[in-house]
Structures are given as C-alpha cells and as structure tokens.
C-alpha cells in the first residue's frame, strides 16, 4: 500500500492524515481505516480508527466503539507488528 491520504475536518481546520492500514471484517461486514495526523503528544502518535460501510464508501466514517471491534483492531496491530 502506497502513501494514501485522507483529509478530515477537525473543528474548522482541514487536516491531511496518513492512512496507516485498512482491513475488512466478514463478521461485521464493515471495512475499517486507521489513519494518523502525525501529531505527537506526550511521545505518542494518535491513530484514528473509523469504520465504514463498504456499500456506501469511505465518504462516511463511523466511530469504532464496540469492544469486539476494538479487540479486532488490536489483533490487526499485533499482526502487522509481527509480520
């Protein structure tokens, strides 16, 4: 995957974020995108995780709050780290 960007609106400001990874889930039938604004706060970068309906497309993102979905995100991060 190349350097893909997603531009989001944070408050009134347009921020260009780097897309870090994407994946899908056949359990939830959603796709997920993780991106970062590369801002480092207290030595940590923010990763934003959003889900979207693959039917609708990435134009409309939703927050990921379900525990099982978050577990899945953690699994993905581990997989990426270990691969």
């Amino acid at each position: 995957m190349g350097d893909e960007k997603i531009t989001i609106l944070k408050g009134d400001k347009e921020i260009e974020c780097d897309i870090l990874f994407t994946f899908s889930s056949e359990d939830t039938l959603k796709s997920y995108v993780a991106y970062t604004d590369n801002i480092v706060v207290d030595g940590k970068k923010n990763i934003y995780i959003s889900s979207f309906d693959p039917v609708v497309g990435m134009g409309q993102l939703e927050d990921v709050v379900d525990e099982k979905e978050l577990e899945m995100v953690e699994d993905v991060l581990k997989q990426i780290e270990n691969s």
């Binding site: 995957m1 350097d3 994946f23 359990d27 796709s31 970062t36 693959p54 039917v55 899945m72 990426i80």
Partner: protein
C-alpha cells in the same frame, strides 16, 4: 548360615542406628529456635548423611542376603530323578515362554477361549530326583535361566483412551451455559498496511494512542482497496511446460504422492519457493488424491455402519426372545448364536471411529487446516441453508448425555465388551441424528438442530458467506434504479414530453386530493428510508412482472383515455414518452451492465475479492446513491403530477405498496449490516404478503420504468454472468450465486422467471 546371621545382625544394627538418628533429628528441630540457623543446618546435614549411609548399608546387606538365599535354593536332587523328567520340565518352561510371547500378539478373546496358560513353575514346590554324576554334567545351566517377564495379557490397544473429546468439553464447560455470542472474536481480513507505518511500528520508535473520533471526511482516495494479484497467464511455451508437468504429476505413484502430501506442507513450501504454476498443479493433484482416499474410507465406513445397524436389529430381537420362557437348550443355542453375532463388533466400532478420524485428517491437515476448518465452520457454509442455519447456545444437558455415551463406548471398546459397544454406539448415533433438524424455510432448507449429524467425513465448505452476493445484488439494483431515475428526471427531452402532456390535460381535474396527500406523506417517509425502497425493489426481481405490468398499465391507460376523451392525444404522447423512456432505460441498462460487467469479470476470475468487488460496485453507484434521495423526490413529483392529471387514476395500489415499504424500514438496513440473527430477518421477510407487492404493477409507467429498472437488475447480473461464462469461459461461481438467489426467491414467492 553364619554368614547369613552376620548379615542379619548388620541390618538390625543399621536399623537401630536409623531410629537413633530420627530421635536426634527431632531434638534438633526442638532446639532450632535456640541456635543459630547455620548451626542448625550443619547438624541437620550431618544427620542426613548418616541416615543415607545406614540406608545404603541396609540395602547392600539385604542384597547380599538375597544372593545367599538364592544360592541355597539350588534344586535339590535326589537319586530318583531321571533326565527325562527334567527335560520335560525344561520343555514346559519353553512352552510357557512361547505362550506368554504369543499372548502379547494375539487377540484377547481368542486367547481366553482357546488357550490356557500352563502352570507357572514354582521352584519352591518342585522336588526333583537326584541325578547321577554323568547326568549332572549334561544338564544345562539352570541357575542362569530366567523366566521371561510375564506381560499383561490384555489386548494391546494402541493409544488406549480413557476419555474422549466430548468428556473433555463437558469438563471444561461444566455449569457454564455458553451463549451463541459468547467469546466470539471478530476476524479481520484483507489487511493492507502502508509500508511506512509497518516500518515505523517495527522500529518501536513511536507509541500510539487509539483515538475515538468521528471526522467529517473531505477527501478520500477512491481506489484504496484495490488489490494487485498475480494472474497466471500462460504463453504458448509456458502452456506446454505446464501440460508436461501435469502429465508427469498424474503419473506419480501413490507412494510418491504420499511423500508429497506429508512433506510438502507449511514452512517447507515457503522454503523451497517453487514457482506458483507448479504449486497449483500439485495442489490440484493432492486434492484429487486425498479426496479419492477419503471416498474409499467413507465407503468402508459405510459398510461397517450397515453391518452394525444390521446387527443391532437382530440383537434386539434375540434379547427379546431371551426374556421369554424358552427351553434351556434353545436358550443355550440362542446365546451361542448371539455371541457369534456380536463377536468382534467392539473392534469394528473402533475401526469406524479410527477411519473417520483418518478421513478427516486427510481433509484438513495441520494447524492451518484446523484454523481454516474453524473459520469454515464459523461461516456456517457447510450447513444446510448456510448462513441461515440457526445457532444455539451450548446445551449442557445434551453435552452431558453425549459425554456419557462417549465414555460408555470407550469403556466398552477397552473392555472388549461387544454388546455394550454396540448399544453405546447406536445410542450415540441416534442422539446426534435426533438432534439434527433440517427445516424448510423461505430460503430453502436450513439447519436448525443443535447437532449436524454426518457420519461420513465431509470436506467443509471454505467459501465465504454468500451474504456478499446479496449486497452485490442490492447494489446492482440500486445502481440500476438510480441510473434510470436520473435519466428520466433530468433528461430534457423527456421533460419536454411530460410538459406537453401535462398542458393538454390540465383541464381534467379528476383526482383525489386526499389520496395524493397521503401518497406524498408516504413518499417522504420513503425518502428518509431509502433502504426500504431497495428492499421492496429487490423483491420485484421478476421480468415477468415488469412485462405484464407494462402491459396492464398501458391497457389501463388506453382505456381511460378512451373513456374520458382528450386523453387520446395524450395516448400518443404517452406512448412517445413511454418509448423514449424505455429507450433511455435501455441505454442506461447497457451502461450499468457494462460497469457491472467489468467488476464482475474481475471478481469471477479471482482478481478481486468479495469486499473489493463491493467497494468497486459502490464506486459505480456511490454518487448515484447519494443522489438517490433527491431523485426519489423528483420521482414523487412526477408521480404526483401523473396522479393529479391522470383521470381517475387509482392510487390506492400505490398506497398499499408504499405502506409496506414504510412499515419495514429496517429490513434492508439490517441486511446491509450483515444480520447476525438471520432468523429475525427471515421472519420479517416471511411476513411479507406477496399480494402487497402485486399492486406495484399498477403504478404509472414512469415510476415503473424507473423503479422497476431494479426488477430486472438481478437477472441482469445473472445474464451478464452467463454471458461471461459463455464468452470468456470464466468460472461460474458468480453465475451460480446469482442464479441460486433468483431461484430461491422465485420458489418462495411462486413466481417463475421467464
């Protein structure tokens, strides 16, 4: 004797010393708190060393004593002993050795029935006559003779089980009634990572926070999810090479194939890095090879099942007779017959279980296979009715029963108890079978039972959930609808025709104000629930409906035109419009078809996955979906105009159908979100009164032309796929999916697709 006494005295002395050391140790422990720790441990160590010394002395003395005893236990020979008797003794000892060795190999049952172990030589009881000197010299050295170890004569069942899988499951789930949704962990697939992030993560230079945030997205990369896969394209030369290899692989012996099967797995494949073409050929051959083996095993299993179940019938009959008053002779004969009947059945049952395991191990080997099996089971694709199969919470009572029967069967096999083995086996099979239920549903047959009884090894279905095809279908429908609506609403020429029509009938005020208001209200509801509309349209997947509806509509319109006059002019215009609309519709049909065809071509050739296909299709319909709401409003406006201006046009049919759509607002939403509780959806859809959908025939042609574009879209997809298959020889995966979907819908609603 003196020596012996000496040794015994030495043992006694050591034993006394040990008692003394024990007392010293007790005193030491009592004094522990009054002395430094180092002193305590030093003293304890001394006592320990002395104890070990004394114990060693006792051991050595006892061994010595034993040796002395053995030496004194020579065979005392008296003068009456003859060499023949002694040789007879040796022969009996040899026989004993032989029999003991043989009993380790033969079956336990035969041993019990046919043989008796000879008496074991008891050296203490045997008194042999004395030999003459010259005869003594000829005797073999008896002292060096050792009887062979008597081994356990019970049958050697390899890997003797004390309990089985179900007992283990029972134990780990004791008093914990697991629910369907407990412990489910969602699995991610199609993971794509930005290289920079991967490197960053591996470097460990940064820590990360997962942040919850719902942004307003301004711009996204459209082709983010495009995956590049390598398609194997054979040149002519390459094709020849492949064919040659294929032929050679097909000529490999079974022994060679087994070697490949066992050794070319997992890490070895990665290590060797053979070309993909070769791996594909080998995989295909392995699949055939393994499936043939499984088929043979299944055939053997089948025969044994027939035998066992045949036996149980007869066994039951015999047992019934034995309960009655019969003569002793008859009873004896019957019991003998029964014993012959059931002889060896425990082993046969064990063989069934072993062959089943063997067949299964062929079908899914290794941890990868195991994981794949788990995944395949989770998708429920291997069950009748696939994803519509019902899931159940863990039934502990059923599990208990199953575990108990499993234990009985294992016990029976281990004991070699044929009758018990048969009954346990049959009861277990019955339990599994009786808890298997295949029900008819609107989606065809589906598994609803708590078990899925299948005594033969079966390859699991590893294909993904067919729900994907439903999304594909609904997207196809949506895109077709919106395309057509868009054209009709926005095309200038059409507008001109409509306006002309309207001008000429503006003096006709035969309309139903109330009805229109109601329709408008429903129309607004529909706008806010666009998904519901899609669901309704999805149900209208019938070209026959479209065809007949068209016909009905035209006839109705023509008749009313004749009756009310003035409409005769409109009739021409109407037909002009109608013709134009169809022309435009057909153009858009083609455009949509081409777009879909490109995507489905990639999908059916395996270049893109299901999720990617959806994403691309959503790209085709993405913009149009967003416009759908506004376009629906336009459509309503058109409908309202027609309703207002068309003489005596009955909108009640429209009302009914819209009412249905409004009453089921969540249906398509749920389907699009991949319903978990498919039964809910199933029951919702089953509540649909097909009659409610029929009135959609009667709505004005413009609405039909637009909304009913969806009616043929699934067939459109099917037609496209059929064409592709014929023309390009693609795999028929998608064709089958779409055809099956159509067929099931047609079946449940008793419509035939023409």
């Amino acid at each position: 004797m003196n020596k012996e006494k000496e040794i015994r005295d030495s043992i006694k002395k050591s034993q006394k010393e040990l008692e003394h050391l024990k007392e010293e140790e007790e005193i030491l422990y009592q004094e522990k708190k009054n002395m430094p720790l180092s002193s305590f441990y030093r003293e304890l160590g001394i006592i320990e060393r002395h104890r070990k010394d004394e114990e060693q002395k006792i051991k050595e003395s006892e061994e010595l004593l034993c040796k002395l005893k053995n030496q004194n236990n020579d065979y005392t020979l008296n003068n009456n002993y003859s060499i023949d008797k002694f040789r007879y003794l040796l022969e009996r000892i040899d026989e004993l050795k032989r029999l003991i060795n043989d009993s380790n190999e033969e079956s336990y049952h035969e041993e019990q029935q046919n043989k008796q172990l000879p008496a074991v030589v008891d050296s203490n009881s045997l008194m042999l006559p004395a030999l003459k000197e010259e005869e003594v010299k000829q005797l073999p050295s008896v002292r060096n003779f050792e009887l062979p170890k008597v081994v356990d004569t019970k049958p050697k069942i390899e890997q003797k089980r004390n309990r089985g899988l179900i007992s283990i499951i029972e134990e780990i789930t004791k008093d914990v009634p697991l629910k369907v949704s407990d412990g489910k962990r969602y699995k991610a697939s199609h993971i794509k990572v930005a290289k920079r992030f991967k490197d960053e993560l591996s470097s460990g230079n940064y820590l990360y926070n997962i942040v919850h945030f719902v942004p307003n997205v301004i711009k996204v990369p459209f082709k983010l999810l495009t995956k590049i896969t390598n398609k194997i394209l054979y040149s002519k030369k390459a094709k020849k090479r492949i064919e040659t290899i294929k032929e050679r692989v097909n000529n490999l012996s079974d022994e060679d194939l087994i070697i490949i099967y066992k050794e070319y797995r997992s890490g070895r494949i990665i290590q060797e890095r053979f070309p993909t073409g070769l791996n594909i050929i080998l995989e295909e051959k392995m699949r055939n090879f393994v499936l043939n083996k499984v088929a043979r095993l299944n055939s053997e299993i089948e025969k044994k099942y027939i035998d066992i179940f045949g036996t149980i019938g007869e066994l039951n009959s015999i047992n019934d007779i034995l309960k009655k008053s019969i003569s002793t002779e008859e009873r004896e004969k019957l019991i003998n017959y029964k014993n012959q009947l059931i002889k060896g059945k425990a082993l046969e049952i064990k063989d069934i279980r072993d062959k089943y395991k063997e067949a299964n191990s062929y079908l899914s080997g290794g941890i990868h296979g195991f994981s794949e099996d788990m995944r395949a089971a989770a998708t429920k694709m291997s069950y009748v009715g696939k994803r519509f199969s019902k899931e159940h919470d863990l039934d502990l009572v059923l599990l208990q029963k199953e575990a108990s029967l499993e234990r009985d069967e294992i016990e029976a096999i281990n004991e070699g108890n044929d009758e018990k083995a048969i009954y346990s086996f049959v009861e277990m099979e019955s339990l599994l079978s009786s808890n298997t239920e295949i029900k008819n549903s609107i989606f065809g047959k589906k598994t609803v039972g708590k078990k899925y009884y299948n005594p033969l090894a079966e390859e699991l279905n590893y294909s993904p959930d067919p729900f994907i095809r439903d999304i594909f279908t609904s997207i196809a429908i949506t895109s077709a609808i919106v395309s057509a609506i868009n054209v009709i609403s926005n095309d200038v020429k059409i507008r001109e025709i409509v306006d002309e029509n309207n001008k000429q009938v503006n003096d006709i005020n035969y309309y139903n104000k109330e009805k229109i208001a109601e329709i408008n209200e429903y129309g607004h509801e529909i706008v806010s629930k666009r998904g519901t509309m899609i669901n309704g349209m999805k149900a209208q997947n019938r070209t026959s409906i479209l065809a007949s509806a068209n016909e009905l509509e035209r006839r109705a319109l023509d008749k009313s035109a004749e009756k009310y006059g003035g409409w005769a002019i409109e009739t021409d215009i109407y037909h002009k419009y109608d013709h134009k609309a169809h022309e435009i519709y057909n153009n858009f049909y083609n455009d949509t078809r081409n777009s879909l065809r490109d995507i489905t071509a990639k999908y059916s050739s395996g270049n893109i996955s299901d999720a990617e296909a959806i994403s691309l299709i959503s790209g085709v319909s993405n913009d149009t979906q967003k416009k759908f709401i506004s376009i629906t409003e336009d459509c309503l406006e058109t409908l309202t105009k027609y309703a207002k201006e068309h003489p005596k046009f009955d909108l009640s049919a429209v009302k009914k159908s819209m009412q249905y759509l409004v009453n089921h607002p969540n249906a398509i939403g749920k389907m699009n979100k991949a319903m978990v509780r498919v039964e809910d959806i199933g029951s919702q859809i089953s509540d649909v009164d097909v009659q409610q959908l029929i009135p959609l025939h009667d709505i004005p042609n413009s609405m039909k032309t637009t909304l009913f574009a969806a009616a043929s879209s699934t067939l459109l997809a099917g037609n496209v796929m059929s064409t592709l298959q014929r023309k390009y020889g693609y795999g028929n995966k998608v064709t089958k999916l779409v055809d099956e979907y159509n067929y099931n819908l047609a079946k449940e609603e008793n419509y035939k697709i023409k």
